[in-house]
Symmetry: C2
Subunit: 278 residues, 2 copies
């Protein structure tokens, strides 16, 4: 498919520019959009406080890497954080049924939808932070970093195999697209142990970045660096909630699945102005 080749070239060019980076957030060139820091909140539910404690991103990454073989990506991210909070804070973290998060493997039960590492991170933010708007902002920051950064960058203390995975830019938050794009770049099959090592390290990257975001939020120094994906901004100007069409929603990179036809480029506005009822 022609557009995929173009994307491949673009991704390759961007990836080439990412050599030498060492963490997910430093790897990303911020097009800075500072936002006011939200207030610190410990999350309460039915009188139970889910109290966050400052965690080390490095320790979290290593734990996520270690846990990956026990339950895959979503479980790895979720357990890396909850296991530390169980040690530092105790209950209610000790008795949280972390095993349930194994369902996120392969984009939810192997379906290829959302990357399990991101599903685990979003679940953590849902557990530890109160308020839809703030949750969306924190997860959104992570998701944009994931879409745009050459990954994985994590270097385990004791690598499970003698293999340094090439980096690729996922250009998507979907497991299916993220793993497929990496496989094309690195030339390994989807079922290879090399692909699994890539996802294992990426799980560590996402866990570390989640904790960085949670630390910053709870210490009142969170700033959003990743602005909305440009293709999303362009498309949603007309198609999104506030657009004149208002016929779709989402924040995923549009061009990962859609291309813009010549007809759309030339006639979309004319068509809308003179032909459409609303």
């Amino acid at each position: 498919m022609e557009r995929r080749k173009l994307l491949k070239v673009a991704a390759g060019a961007l990836a080439a520019g990412g050599v030498g980076v060492v963490t997910l957030s430093t790897a990303f060139k911020p097009e800075v959009k500072a936002t006011p820091s939200p207030k610190k909140l410990d999350y309460k539910e039915n009188g139970t406080v889910w109290k966050y404690a400052h965690l080390s991103p490095e320790e979290t990454a290593q734990r996520a890497y270690n846990e990956y073989p026990n339950g895959s990506c979503m479980y790895g991210v979720f357990k890396s954080v909850v296991s530390q909070l169980a040690e530092k804070v105790g209950e209610p973290f000790v008795s949280f049924p972390v095993q349930m998060m194994k369902y996120g493997h392969g984009g939810v039960n192997g379906s290829g939808t959302i990357c399990g590492a991101l599903n685990g991170a979003a679940a953590l933010i849902g557990l530890l932070v109160e308020g839809k708007q703030v949750q969306d902002a924190l997860a959104g920051e992570l998701f944009r970093l994931y879409e745009e950064t050459p990954l994985p960058v994590f270097m385990p203390k004791k690598p499970a195999m003698d293999f340094e995975p090439p980096k690729s830019i996922a250009k998507s938050v979907l497991c299916h697209a993220s793993t497929t794009r990496w496989g094309k770049k690195a030339d390994y099959t989807i079922n290879s142990k090399e692909r699994k090592e890539r996802c294992r390290r990426l799980t560590a990257d996402v866990a570390a970045q989640t904790v960085t975001i949670l630390n910053n939020y709870h210490e009142n120094v969170f700033m959003a660096h990743a602005k909305s994906n440009e293709t999303v901004q362009t498309c949603m100007a007309c198609h999104g909630n506030e657009g004149k069409l208002g016929n779709t929603s989402g924040k995923m990179n549009c061009t990962s699945c859609h291309d813009e036809s010549l007809a759309h480029k030339v006639f979309a506005d004319v068509h809308h102005k003179f032909m459409m009822k609303r």
Copy 2:
């Protein structure tokens, strides 16, 4: 985009055949593939039993519908089940932090990835059923029904608004595609109260079907009715884990994002046989 028009026509034709259906599973014409019933298991973690009890799909649907305004789709599905188990079984369900599941709204924090109702259902299966293979089979059944059935079908006792949402076939488990396709079919914007009422009823449908599947599984009468999506079977024969290319994974309907080029149709096998290294 041409392929989307074709899909729209196909979806319309299928939807027209679905008039008069009343539940998600009866709405779906099973292309039966019976599987042996798995053994009943109460899920244990760290000595805690997450004991399932038979639930009424109708009661579950009504609860999910009622809860939707308090936390959207994932929360609605998850709370509809856990609130009943808290009443019937007690702990550990009583103290489960169900609020965390609000993160799934709009395909995970508004991202448009997996439908939140399905994310909530998969999380429930992860909590209540042990074993990756069985979890994947149960969630897979639900996901295929969701992709292929004209929805929503739930009729609330006290509808929140005087509006019967038209049914559409999502052809995808992604929030972005599911809601957009419904909006096109029904001619309502994504931000309309009618679209929200559609998602509210669909949340009820997914909750009811999840409980039907869990009931059947725990009573040893689960049978998978939905076979793998045909496009997935066709594409994955070459591209999947076991295929000669093995370069991708996932179980989502392929044609929701991809079309097959003429060049692929004519030359793919020749190219693979004579040009590729592996």
